[in-house]
């Protein structure tokens, strides 16, 4: 990959074309600065990893949304999102936030975008809770289908179902259960 490929436009174009290899590029280019920021502001290297990956995920999801417009450099955007998330995290942990030491400019993430980030995170949390309560074999089946993206054929083979239809029926049952758990989760969270 040459220099031009690493420009912001190239990276965004590649992501929109489902070329995930640029994630590698993003990681190598920008992890260092976020790492430095988090560590300086009393975080660990693990914190830096988590925050940076979250920021990449936010960026990735936004880029996939064709309506999203990036009005600063990717570097600044990742730094700003990481900064926001880290602030939120230490506020939760310590109640008192000392002075934050910054190393580069950052943009304000507007409230609607922050709210969207939070909503996505919450949905993700609810889903993982629901899945953890689902029990086997449903959990593995759902994960195989939605995460590993196995086909119904592959799944029925793996689980030893006589045919894909049986697998489908099983998946239907599992989804019904998951749905109950998921919406129960929703109620619980909204209480």
């Amino acid at each position: 990959m040459n220099e031009i490929d690493n420009s912001d436009e190239q990276i965004i174009a590649a992501l929109r074309n489902n070329d995930d290899s640029v994630l590698n590029v993003l990681y190598k280019l920008y992890f260092g600065s976020i790492n430095h920021f988090i560590i300086t502001n009393s975080g660990s290297e693990d914190d830096a990893k988590d925050i940076f990956q979250e920021a990449i995920i936010v960026f990735y999801q936004n880029i996939k949304d064709q309506n999203f417009e990036l009005n600063c450099k990717i570097k600044t955007y990742l730094y700003s999102v990481s900064r926001l998330m880290w602030l939120k995290k230490i506020k939760k942990a310590t109640a008192i936030v000392g002075k934050i030491t910054d190393f580069e400019g950052f943009i304000a993430i507007d409230d609607s975008e922050a709210a969207q980030m939070e909503e996505r995170e919450m949905q993700f949390g609810k889903m993982s809770m629901a899945l953890s309560e689902l029990g086997e074999p449903c959990k593995t089946l759902i994960e195989d289908f939605y995460i590993k993206q196995l086909s119904m054929g592959q799944i029925s083979e793996k689980f030893g179902y006589t045919n894909a239809d049986n697998a489908k029926t099983q998946k239907y049952k599992c989804l019904m259960r998951l749905k109950k758990l998921f919406f129960k989760q929703e109620e619980r969270l909204e209480l």
Partner: protein, 362 residues
């Protein structure tokens, strides 16, 4: 209750796998069947959620992989920890370093200061002053110029302080000041030197009485101070005048304890900074009564000096009258200093306080 068949239809509809005809039929059915519509919406929501969930987990796994590939080396990790520690704590460490530097410097200064102190008071009990050669010749020179007397002007080996006991040429000082003396001289404020002889010594109380034998000594009219026979009170303000150096030095403090070194009951403990040369000086209270005689200090304790009580001196002198001296001493009973300010008290006192110069052959 909806069946698996309805659900299959919903799924196909959502995936767009129904034919145009089937889609139309399904949509008509949806309008009529609200339960089916609910099911469809819930399923749609589930699908969106699950897809988002799956995507996120996959992305996270990918990033984790990248992270591991990029930062896998362990030794670097170790190094990083050090770097992280440094980044997070360098401010604290800078403060700690400055503090320890400060402590180190002040400790060195303090130790040096202590050394000076120790050197100054090397001679623990005996606060007589060992004169070094240069000072001796210097003082001899001064004496020579100012008081061209015929008497000895050879350098003194030790110096102490003494003060008039009576108006007619008896002086009192510490025994240790004149102990090994071959000859003793007293020098007054006008730098006049008179030869003196020891007429009495008391080892126990460490006091000695000298008598001036030089013929040119003029007797005082009276003494301005009296020796008190009352016990001093702890906390009482006291002061002394003495000769730790060529010039008379004033020192003040308080009476700290009713007993002296290691519980010695003939002495007081006082908190006056004293130095070699102070021995034999008077200890006075605020009114100018003699309440003691400076005898020494404790080297290992700061600010602990000792003085023989005036009561002890009085009782020794009374005993003395019975034993050896036919006449005895008449101690002055009248104090003329009581009403004066400290400065004026000293102006009067300075004529009655003398340097004791001790000569001996080494």
């Amino acid at each position: 209750m909806k069946t698996g068949k309805d659900w299959e239809e919903i799924e196909k509809y959502l995936e767009g796998k129904l034919s145009v005809n089937e889609t139309n039929m399904f949509e008509t059915k949806l309008q009529a069947d609200s339960e089916l519509l609910q099911l469809l919406l819930a399923h749609k929501k589930m699908n969106v959620s699950l897809n988002a969930y799956g995507e996120r987990v996959r992305l996270k796994q990918k990033l984790e992989q990248i992270h591991q590939d990029t930062f896998a080396e362990m030794p670097q990790n170790q190094q990083n920890k050090l770097k992280i520690f440094w980044i997070q704590h360098y401010k604290t460490m800078a403060v700690a370093a400055s503090v320890s530097l400060l402590v180190a410097i002040s400790t060195i200064l303090y130790i040096n200061f202590q050394k000076v102190q120790i050197r100054q008071s090397a001679n623990f009990k005996a606060l007589r002053k060992d004169m070094d050669r240069i000072k001796r010749s210097q003082s001899a020179l001064i004496n020579n110029l100012n008081t061209p007397k015929k008497e000895e002007i050879a350098p003194a080996n030790y110096i102490g302080t003494g003060f008039a006991l009576t108006n007619d040429g008896y002086f009192i000082t510490s025994l240790h000041v004149i102990k090994d003396a071959d000859s003793v001289f007293i020098q007054n404020q006008n730098a006049q030197t008179f030869k003196a002889v020891t007429v009495f010594r008391n080892e126990q109380s460490d006091i000695a009485i000298l008598k001036v034998v030089s013929s040119n000594f003029e007797a005082y009219k009276t003494l301005p101070y009296s020796f008190t026979d009352k016990s001093g009170n702890i906390g009482e303000h006291v002061f002394t005048l003495g000769f730790p150096r060529e010039d008379m030095v004033y020192g003040e403090g308080a009476l700290s304890a009713a007993s002296g070194f290691e519980g010695d009951t003939v002495s007081y403990q006082i908190s006056i900074p004293v130095n070699p040369g102070n021995s034999g000086g008077p200890l006075l209270d605020d009114k100018g009564n003699i309440i003691g005689l400076i005898s020494g200090k404790q080297t290992e304790t700061e600010g602990a000096a000792f003085a023989v009580k005036s009561q002890s001196i009085i009782s020794i002198i009374q005993e003395l009258a019975k034993d050896s001296l036919e006449e005895g001493f008449k101690l002055n009973k009248k104090n003329n200093l009581a009403g004066l300010s400290r400065v004026n008290q000293i102006k009067v006192l300075k004529d009655y306080i003398v340097t004791i110069k001790v000569y001996n052959q080494e």
